[in-house]
């Protein structure tokens, strides 16, 4: 058997893999969005910009500092997370008591500004980032050829997502996070420094976006607008999945990535809008989202 629904297996499995890669990024980003939203009640519009920042930081580390992919995988999320922490401390924090609208608009402004800065300095064109030597080459699986780097991205993102899930659902730190999401004042009265927790949570959330940026750099072009085009799709993913559940974000992200890719095989022109169509259908049938807990 070499064909399924009249499509060669190799093409189909190739598309599934592209879908899983896109889905991994959707999952990583929507996971961070959900964590930040859960605790801070802020929709971090700048999430895509931090992802773009991650890609540029790792490109910059390589280009200007000769720092390779592997150290960058650790350094970049830390740098991006630290920048996020500074932003939270100096600006975002002042808006917590106000209408949600303002924190959304602030992060929206930050997204525009970051994108603008990089476009100003580096132009709109993309920079390429080489696949690290240790991950070059392909696996021949018989029915398809699988580039090692892509396999690595899927596995690594899944591991990171699951780790995040374990930390939040199964550790004392996660218990504090969940408790603070429910009742921050009581958690404060227990002697836990909630404002610090908010900063670290924001840093961790955007750090995840930065990590996604590092992993994306060798696959997509490193360009100023890579974040904004992604984040809008991720918002749709978040609307579909609902932000109540961490696992929900991960599963929805992967699922939609694959679905979008498969659409490309069967209805090429509809591929770009697949996620939005699914969003509309879900809103019509189950307004709270697939895993939503909110009203």
């Amino acid at each position: 058997m070499t064909e399924l629904f009249g499509v060669p297996i190799a093409v189909l499995s190739g598309q599934v893999m592209i879908g899983l890669i896109n889905g991994s990024f959707y999952a990583l980003l929507s996971l961070g969005l959900a964590i930040i939203f859960g605790l801070l009640n802020v929709i971090n519009f700048a999430h895509g910009a931090f992802y773009m920042l991650g890609a540029f930081v790792s490109w910059g580390l390589l280009t200007y500092g000769g720092v390779g992919y592997w150290p960058s995988l650790v350094l970049t999320p830390l740098i991006v997370g630290a920048l996020g922490a500074v932003f939270e401390r100096t600006m975002l924090r002042r808006l917590y008591g106000l209408d949600h609208l303002f924190s959304l608009l602030l992060t929206f402004g930050l997204a525009l500004a970051l994108e603008g800065i990089f476009r100003w300095v580096y132009g709109a064109g993309g920079k390429s980032y080489p696949v690290p030597a240790s991950l070059q080459g392909v696996y021949n699986l018989g029915f398809m050829v699988l580039p090692i780097y892509r396999a690595w991205v899927i596995v690594a993102s899944l591991v990171v997502c699951l780790l995040a899930w374990v930390v939040i659902e199964k550790t004392p730190l996660g218990a504090r996070l969940r408790a603070a999401t429910e009742n921050p004042k009581l958690v404060t009265a227990f002697g836990i420094n909630v404002p610090l927790m908010l900063t670290l949570t924001y840093a961790a959330g955007v750090g995840l976006a930065g990590l996604a940026g590092v992993m994306a750099a060798p696959i997509y072009q490193v360009s100023p607008n890579m974040g904004s085009s992604l984040i809008i799709i991720v918002f749709a993913v978040v609307v579909i999945g609902g932000m109540g559940s961490i696992m929900g974000s991960i599963v929805t992200g992967l699922m939609l990535g694959v679905l979008e890719s498969l659409t490309k095989v069967f209805f090429p022109t509809a591929s770009a809008i697949t996620v939005f169509i699914v969003m509309i259908l879900v809103l019509l049938m189950r307004p709270a989202g697939l895993f939503g807990k909110d009203k």
Partner: protein, 234 residues
């Protein structure tokens, strides 16, 4: 003279724009169980919330072991040894019993071990993985007290522990309170149930419209019943 642990002077407090505490003054000494009595809306729970740092807009003084509570950052209040058991218990629905129990950080040595806790509240034994809010009301109350005892706090703000509980559970909670007292823990208690209050407390303060209007010693309570009934509108 027994050492004063908490001295509250002219405490005022606001929920947003509404002024709910109008200059409450009282003291709690080491090892005492002191209750705040009063009608609904008299400001008892607000007093607790103001002391615990949950109510942020406050004026006046509240000195606890020599520290001014009103200028202490809210997350440092517990570190002074002041534990808070809120009204409605404040058990987290996204945490298991175990996680609820382990949530508040230990603030000083001398906290109760899990064994001590299970001895005092056998109902909590073997329930570690149950979701916190799946426990019965009485068990949730025990959990709320247990998690504070574990931290080593030796001054507990206990807000309406018997609210909505069956008499046999109330008795159990009363028994536990006596145990706490024996161990030298100081308790500021808000209570509607007068019988319960008189069975555990040393002194009572009566609140009305955000102020303390009277103080009654537990020993002389029976001779003041008429007055007290009038205060409480019974």
């Amino acid at each position: 003279m027994v050492e004063t642990r908490l001295q509250v002077e002219a405490l005022e407090g606001w929920y947003g724009e509404s002024h709910v505490l109008h200059g409450a003054s009282f003291t709690v000494r080491r090892g005492e169980v002191v209750t705040l009595l009063g009608r609904n809306g008299a400001g008892k729970t607000s007093t607790m919330r103001a002391l615990a740092g949950i109510m942020r807009k406050r004026k006046g003084r509240a000195v606890f072991d020599g520290n001014e509570l009103l200028t202490t950052p809210p997350h440092r209040v517990a570190r002074l040894g002041l534990g808070f058991v809120p009204e409605e218990r404040g058990i987290f629905s996204s945490l298991t019993v175990r996680e609820n129990l382990m949530l508040p950080p230990v603030v000083r040595s001398g906290g109760w071990s899990i064994q001590d806790i299970h001895e005092l509240f056998p109902n909590l034994k073997g329930r570690d993985t149950t979701i916190g809010t799946r426990l019965s009301g009485g068990e949730q109350q025990m959990l709320a007290m247990a998690r504070i005892l574990r931290t080593g706090c030796d001054f507990i703000l206990l807000d309406e522990p018997t609210e909505g509980l069956a008499p046999v559970i109330v008795e159990h909670i009363g028994h536990a309170l006596v145990k706490l007292k024996e161990k030298g823990i100081t308790v500021l208690l808000v209570e509607q149930n007068l019988n319960f209050a008189r069975s555990v407390a040393d002194r009572h303060y009566v609140m009305e419209q955000g102020r303390i209007i009277d103080e009654i010693d537990n020993g002389s309570l029976s001779s003041h019943m008429d007055k007290l009934n009038r205060y409480l509108g019974i």
